[in-house]
């Protein structure tokens, strides 16, 4: 009997899904991913986390609760850093401990520490730890990882859309508003949490750009015009894409900044982006905050009003 590993469909799953799932598959382990977020998952998450935690962490807690009885292991990597001098946020670093201390009757937990802030080599001990827990040979682990990594990198590349950073009209319809929806991948791709924002925008006739569509060089270019080095890995993509568009406002019609309630980095990054938008006055910006009791009605009113505003600007300008 091969063991069953569970992965919560939340937080960094949305970024690393292809890597993690394929890695375990190549290792010959069955993987169960928790179902997409639903009301039950959210409610469980809310009741098992401290009130002060941010919405994505609460959702993550709900997903762990959801799969814990269906699997032999839960994969809970401790994500410290993915690159030199960059960090994930403190809550992501502490999430395995938050899970351990707030949920009971857990299956075995696989908690490799991914800390590449000093050296990329630190990845291997983490991988071997996983292998040891599942009883796999070192060579197989490295092979599986490299294979999975290739697929993942290919997948990431396919998401990049060169037209996203070209002036309006190129590759996109001239008449439809082109809006960059900027946020963390775990809020953008969790359709329950964001109340189907992307789908709603598309039915309203909006061409949406997501941060992952921007090539990495554009993100870095955007960041290079920013005074303080951005040390949050996830913040880099948000700040970088916003900055890039502020410097090249001809590429899009507006920005929607989606912020999860209680997110620490976003409280400051959001403020800096909002202030910059006000200062340069060239790109309309809508800041949407999501929390566990925000209603759909309010969301729809706001995005409708924002699109009306953009359509009017288009007519005038």
């Amino acid at each position: 009997m091969e063991p069953v590993v569970g992965i919560p469909r939340a937080l960094l799953y949305y970024h690393y899904n292809w890597l993690w799932e394929n890695f375990f598959n190549f290792l010959g382990v069955e993987v169960i991913v928790s179902p997409p977020t639903n009301k039950q998952i959210l409610n469980n998450g809310v009741s098992f986390s401290v009130d002060e935690a941010c919405l994505p962490v609460k959702v993550f807690m709900g997903h762990c609760f959801e799969i814990k009885d269906k699997v032999d292991y839960i994969f809970l990597p401790r994500m410290i850093s993915g690159k030199k001098r960059e960090y994930f946020c403190p809550k992501l670093m502490g999430i395995p401990d938050m899970v351990k201390n707030n949920l009971s009757n857990l299956p075995s937990l696989i908690i490799p520490t991914i800390d590449l802030s000093k050296s990329k080599r630190n990845l291997y001990p983490a991988l071997f730890e996983i292998g040891k827990m599942l009883g796999k040979k070192e060579k197989k682990i490295i092979d599986s990882y490299n294979k999975a990594l290739k697929i993942w990198e290919k997948e990431r590349k396919q998401k990049v859309l060169e037209t996203s950073i070209q002036p309006k009209g190129k590759g996109f319809s001239q008449d439809k508003p082109k809006i960059a929806v900027i946020s963390h991948s775990y809020t953008l791709y969790d359709n329950y949490m964001n109340m189907d924002l992307i789908k709603r925008l598309q039915t309203m006739g909006v061409e949406t750009i997501l941060p992952e569509m921007l090539p990495s060089w554009a993100i870095e270019k955007g960041l290079s015009t920013f005074n303080k080095r951005m040390y949050w890995s996830l913040g880099r993509r948000i700040m970088g894409s916003a900055k890039y568009y502020f410097n090249h406002p001809e590429c899009i019609d507006g920005i929607i900044l989606l912020v999860a309630f209680g997110c620490g980095p976003d409280s400051l990054i959001g403020e800096l982006i909002e202030r910059e938008a006000k200062r340069i006055k060239k790109l309309p910006l809508l800041l949407l905050t999501l929390d566990e009791h925000s209603g759909e009605a309010g969301l729809i009113t706001r995005i409708e009003a924002f699109i009306d505003l953009i359509q009017r600007r288009k007519k005038v300008g």
């Binding site: 009741s47 401290v50 009130d51 566990e292 009791h293």
Partner: protein
């Protein structure tokens, strides 16, 4: 001459008095609305008590609790001042020494107290959110045109309660109006509201706490049978509402006062005369620093009894008595 002990609980909504006999029986209990005038209400309550008190009883100790506990203590000459969390815990232990959980929902705040082997091991208090407190239920009963005392009975008539969003008072109210417009029956809405408030309470205060039975439910809101039933359904166990559920704070502090007086041997109580005194409170802004604290001063016959409200202690500590009392 029979000895007896007085507990006074002055909260923002109600003022409660409990008179306790030497062997811890409740002789009298009084429940009045504070209506923003704590001193006048205490005087009024004492007046009522004086008339009801048999001539062979003497008050041998007084304790105060509630948000106006320090003020009350100065006015009546109290023997002890206790915060309402401890007072409620002591009272609940008196009713049932095995009690493990105390749910207390009052006019403006709600608490949970966890006990084990007769001592408090954990507690939480919510003073920020109005959802689930007595004032909120009052408001909703008013809006539905139901006398507050009938709310519980009406809730019990519900056959299929409506789910109401109870995370926040504002949301709960707008959701209730919405459900009314959709034509749900009043009992189903009222019981739905009770369930929402219980859910909110357990999510908010009960989070991470081990809620074990026996569970005692006290405070003004415990009068509502719908709330009791909703708690029992949510916790899947019996919830006890004690006889003196709405004066438990006063009962607790009366017990504490007795203990204190037995130890020290005398009482500071000024006697019922204080009903006739003319207490004056005034407030002024201190301009000593940009904090601009609002100082409250209480005087009787031009003698300053106490001052509160300063952050730095310039005013409150200028009175010798205060050091002793606080």
């Amino acid at each position: 001459m029979e000895k007896c002990y007085l507990g006074i609980d002055v909260g923002s909504v109600s003022t409660n008095l409990v008179l306790l006999s030497e062997n811890d029986e409740v002789l009298e209990s009084i429940y009045l609305r504070t209506e923003g005038k704590p001193i006048a209400t205490v005087q009024k309550a004492l007046n009522i008590l004086q008339q009801r008190l048999p001539s062979n009883y003497r008050i041998k100790g007084v304790g105060s609790t509630g948000s106006a506990r320090y003020l009350t203590n100065v006015v009546v000459g109290g023997d002890c001042v206790k915060n309402e969390i401890t007072a409620h815990a002591v009272a609940a232990l008196h009713i049932n020494p095995q009690v493990r959980t105390v749910i207390e929902i009052g006019g403006q705040d709600s608490k949970i107290i966890i006990l084990q082997d007769g001592i408090v091991t954990d507690f939480a208090m919510n003073t920020v959110c109005a959802a689930g407190t007595g004032s909120f239920l009052d408001q909703q009963a008013n809006r539905l045109n139901i006398p507050i005392q009938d709310l519980g009975e009406i809730a019990l008539q519900s056959t299929s309660p409506v789910r109401i969003a109870g995370r926040c008072a504002v949301f709960a109210e707008s959701d209730m109006i919405h459900k009314q417009q959709m034509g749900y029956s009043i009992p189903d809405i009222v019981y739905g509201l009770c369930q929402a408030l219980v859910r909110n309470y357990l999510n908010n205060l009960g989070k991470g706490k081990d809620i074990n039975s026996p569970i005692i439910f006290q405070g003004g809101v415990a009068a509502n049978k719908g709330m009791k039933k909703a708690f029992e359904e949510a916790l899947k166990t019996e919830v006890i509402v004690p006889k003196y559920y709405n004066v438990m704070g006063a009962l607790g502090v009366a017990l504490i006062a007795k203990e204190v007086v037995v130890k020290k041997g005398y009482t500071n109580f000024y006697g019922f005369n204080i009903c006739n005194y003319d207490y004056k409170t005034k407030s002024f802004n201190c301009n000593g620093c940009p904090n601009i604290c609002k100082i409250v001063e209480i005087t009787v016959e031009k003698e300053v009894l106490g001052r509160w409200g300063d952050r730095c202690g310039k005013w409150s500590q200028s009175i010798k008595r205060f050091d002793k009392l606080a």
